[in-house]
Structures are given as structure tokens and as C-alpha cells.
């Protein structure tokens, strides 16, 4: 499924330095769908303290860098997720929690749940576990930070490059006549 090798899209030069700062202050917009949302409060508060890494919850996609999908995605919420993802600003990353976004999880055969999130929006990191515990989430965050630091977390570039492919998948699922997306590619 890797359409393009991340090496070609790797950040170089000045971006490399900025990545250090992007890594140190990741602002997270957690899209609480499914069962993963309950895992986040402990990671944020004093027990697992996400703030140590400079990460904090943000109210609007405009301000956030990191989109956290915390569970299965039905068709209706997929449309909302794509809309929110579009509103976020580059460089932006997506972390998918739990197994449902990977292969539909226990709802793989349901009529409304989508089986593979990566088809619709580029997922940088998936944290397995039918709702991973906060330690796993923190572990995932640290892994993402390392990826950002050496410039490999380039999901947003992939989305820009082959936007048509993603668009096609999204339309096939959502089958809406009028376009969902904002005027970006018009």
C-alpha cells in the first residue's frame, strides 16, 4: 500500500531544525469516537502526564498538529473526520488508536463502519490494542516524535501528492454527488 517511499518525501535542510521544535510541542485534537476516548484523560492528567512532552489538548483543528482517532469510524463520522483533517494546517499528523481503524476490528463486517482508515486519510502511526492503555499511547507518542524528528512522519505530504487517489476512495464510500471537500483543489 506504500504508494511512495517516505524517503522521497523526507524533510530536509531547514525543515529538519524546525522538526525539533514541532516534536517538542505537539498539540493534539482528539476526535473521540469509539472506546478510546476514555484512555486519554489519564494520559493528559497527573498520572501519565502527557504535558511533559509539551503536548496539550486543543479545541479547534486550526490550532492542532496531531489528529487522534480513538476508535472505530462510522461513515457519518468519517465525513466529519475528513472535514476536520482538511481544516488542520500542515505539517499535521494522524494517530489511530485501537485496531478498529486498522482493519475494522470487531466491527469489520458491520454495514456502516469503515474497515481501513488509511484508505481515506494518511495515518502516520497506529497504536494497536483493543483500546491501548495510556502507557502504549505515550509509547506511540514518543515513537511519533522520533519519526517527526528524523523527518519520516510525512503523511500530510502523501495526502497532498496523491490527493486524487484518496478522494476517489472517499467518494466511493461516501457517494455524495456534491464535493465534500473545501475549495482546496478546485
Amino acid at each position: 500500500m506504500e504508494l511512495y517511499s517516505t524517503k522521497k518525501l523526507k524533510d530536509e535542510g531547514f525543515e529538519q531544525i524546525l522538526n525539533f521544535f514541532r516534536k517538542k510541542s505537539l498539540w493534539m485534537l482528539h476526535y473521540c469516537t469509539g472506546c478510546g476516548a476514555v484512555e486519554l484523560p489519564p494520559t493528559m492528567t497527573s498520572r501519565w502526564d502527557m504535558e511533559r512532552f509539551g503536548m496539550g489538548p486543543m479545541a479547534t483543528p486550526r490550532q492542532a498538529d496531531l489528529l487522534l482517532i480513538t476508535g472505530y469510524l462510522s461513515l457519518k463520522s468519517l465525513k466529519r473526520v475528513i472535514y476536520t483533517y482538511e481544516q488542520m494546517q500542515n505539517p499535521k499528523w494522524v494517530i489511530a488508536l485501537g485496531s478498529c481503524p486498522i482493519n475494522g476490528g470487531i466491527y469489520y463486517d458491520s454495514y456502516s463502519v469503515i474497515n481501513r482508515l488509511a484508505l481515506y486519510i494518511p495515518v502516520d502511526l497506529s497504536i494497536e490494542g483493543c483500546m491501548p492503555r495510556p502507557e502504549a499511547i505515550i509509547e506511540g507518542f514518543i515513537k511519533l516524535m522520533k519519526q517527526i524528528e528524523n523527518g519520516e512522519a510525512v503523511g500530510y505530504k502523501k495526502y497532498q501528492e496523491n490527493y486524487k487517489w484518496y478522494k476517489q476512495n472517499q467518494d466511493s464510500v461516501l457517494k455524495r454527488e456534491f464535493p465534500v471537500l473545501s475549495g482546496e483543489e478546485k
Binding site: L18, F21, R22, K24, S25, T45, S46, D49, E51, R52, F53, G54, M58, A59, T60, R62, Q63, D65, Q89, N90, P91
Partner: protein
């Protein structure tokens, strides 16, 4: 003479930004400590600002850019008139209080204009709340200013500071304790801290005015908030704590900021009209009581 002013200007504005961010970092660690967790390093705000400036951003109209820039420049222009320790950017206008009070409104107007041009309904609601609160906390603050101007016969901060030199006993804090308490509560509103942060309530109106600010605009918001902290605490230190030498000045500012944060981390959020009612009753009565005492004594 020209470059002398530019140099002074740069010193004044950069100190305010840097120190403002520093105070925010320390403040975040302080609140984290209250919540028994270890927030990021004290230079966390610097990182956030640099990250924000490195992100792409969107704007709905050139008015939005102009407005945000105007907001930030308004606050910086106000800091210019603030006496930082005993350093003044404009030597012949040593910190005129009335100018400072009116220049602050440019910051609000610029930010408000930029944000309301963004078209998101949440931001004007936030701005409406902020302005209503402003009329609330301006009253005790204005009363305190009037009291001090009457006390020292001049509206220059320089003279106010001069009267407070010497030992700790002739600080205005001790001369007019009630006025100080009223102003501290007003400071809480000015900084938009917890009990009075109905305007940027993340839960209710998705962080109010900052809804549409992305990337560098949010960076401007951050810098504005930082220099605002520096400004307001600086005014109150000059008015009540007798702003001493550079270091003394900064420590007093930090002390004030941490005082407000400690109040903030304990209180839930006021509805903004209750906040205005609160401001018009309790802090105003404190300062009024002090003013009446002063008038009787004179």
C-alpha cells in the same frame, strides 16, 4: 537621537516578549505543580511560538491579518510606555498612566477586528464577552488609578514610583492595602485568568476569539498574551510595589503573575455577566472605601 530611540524601542519590546514567554513557561510549570504533574520545560512557550510560526496558516480576509497584527502591535506600543525597572523608552514621557490604559484598548480592538473578520460566530461571541468583562474590571482599575493620581498629584508612573522608593514601608501596597486587593482582582480579569476566562472558554465557545487562528496568527495571539502579562503585572508593580531595579521589577512581576495563577487554578468559571456584577460590587467597593478614606484624610 533617532537610532537611540530605535535601540530603546527594540530593548523595550523584546524584553517584554521574552520575559512574557518566560513567565508563561514558569506559570505552566507552577500550575502543573499544583496539579501534581510535571509540565514541560520552562522554555516550553518559546518552543510553542517557534512551532506555531513554522506552521502554515489560513486567513479569511486581509482584514484578519491586519487586525491580528494591529492587536499585537497595540500591546507592544503600550509596553513602550511602561517603565521597565528604571529604564524608559521615551525619556520625556515617563510612563503616562492614561496613555497606557487607552493603548491597551488598541490591542483588544485589533485582535477583535481581525478575529471577527474570520466569519466564525464563536469569535464575536467571545469578543462580546471580553468587552463586557472589560467594562467590569476597568472600573476598579480606573478607581485605583484615580486614587494614585490624586495621591501623587501626577499621572506619571515615574513620580508614583519615586514616592515609593526607600524602605518597604512606603510602598503603596501598605499605604493603600484595600486598593491593592481591588486591583489584584481586576488584574485577574485583565489577564483573562480562570474565574473570568468566559471569553476563551475552550469548552463552551471553542476557545472564543482564537477559533480561526492557525499557525502564525496563533503565534501572534501567544506573543500578545505574553506581552500582556508582562504589561499588566508591570503596571501594578509600578503602581503598588514600587518597581525597583531591573531584577527586583521582574521578580515582583513574576510574583504577581504566580499569585493570579494560584487564584486561577482553584476557581471555576464565572458567567460573564455575573463576572461583571462581581467586578462592580466587591473590588470596586474595596477601592472606593480606600478612596473615601483618602479623601477624608486629605
Amino acid at each position: 537621537m533617532m537610532n537611540n530611540y530605535i535601540v530603546r524601542f527594540l530593548i523595550g519590546s523584546l524584553t517584554s516578549i521574552i520575559l512574557g514567554l518566560l513567565y508563561m513557561g514558569i506559570g505552566r510549570k507552577f500550575i502543573a505543580r499544583i496539579r501534581r504533574c510535571y509540565a514541560g520545560p520552562f522554555y516550553q512557550s518559546f518552543i510553542d511560538v517557534i512551532k506555531l510560526f513554522s506552521k502554515h496558516s489560513i486567513s479569511h480576509h486581509w482584514i484578519m491579518d491586519f487586525g491580528i497584527m494591529m492587536g499585537f502591535s497595540g500591546i507592544i506600543a503600550t509596553v513602550i510606555f511602561l517603565p521597565i525597572g528604571n529604564f524608559y523608552v521615551f525619556p520625556d514621557m515617563k510612563g503616562n498612566l492614561i496613555i497606557i490604559m487607552y493603548f491597551m484598548t488598541i490591542g483588544y480592538l485589533g485582535m477583535a477586528m481581525g478575529v471577527s473578520a474570520s466569519g466564525n460566530p464563536n469569535s464575536p461571541i467571545g469578543i462580546g464577552r471580553a468587552l463586557a468583562l472589560m467594562i467590569g474590571y476597568e472600573i476598579p482599575f480606573a478607581l485605583a488609578v484615580i486614587l494614585l493620581i490624586f495621591a501623587n498629584g501626577s499621572s506619571l508612573l515615574y513620580n508614583i514610583i519615586q514616592t515609593q522608593q526607600g524602605s518597604i514601608y512606603n510602598w503603596n501596597l501598605l499605604k493603600y492595602p484595600f486598593a491593592f486587593i481591588g486591583t489584584i482582582i481586576a488584574l485577574q480579569g485583565m489577564l483573562g485568568e480562570q474565574p473570568f476566562d468566559a471569553m476563551i472558554a475552550p469548552a463552551e465557545i471553542a476557545s472564543g476569539p482564537m477559533v480561526e487562528l492557525s499557525g502564525k496568527f496563533l503565534g501572534f495571539g501567544f506573543l500578545q498574551h505574553a506581552s500582556q502579562i508582562f504589561l499588566e503585572t508591570g503596571i501594578i508593580t509600578a503602581m503598588f510595589l514600587g518597581g525597583g531595579t531591573i531584577i527586583g521589577f521582574f521578580t515582583k512581576q513574576l510574583f504577581l503573575y504566580l499569585l493570579t495563577l494560584s487564584i486561577a487554578s482553584v476557581f471555576p468559571r464565572f458567567r460573564f455577566e455575573d463576572g461583571v456584577k462581581f467586578f462592580w460590587t466587591i473590588p470596586t467597593s474595596f477601592v472606593l472605601f480606600q478612596l473615601i478614606l483618602f479623601l477624608i484624610k486629605r
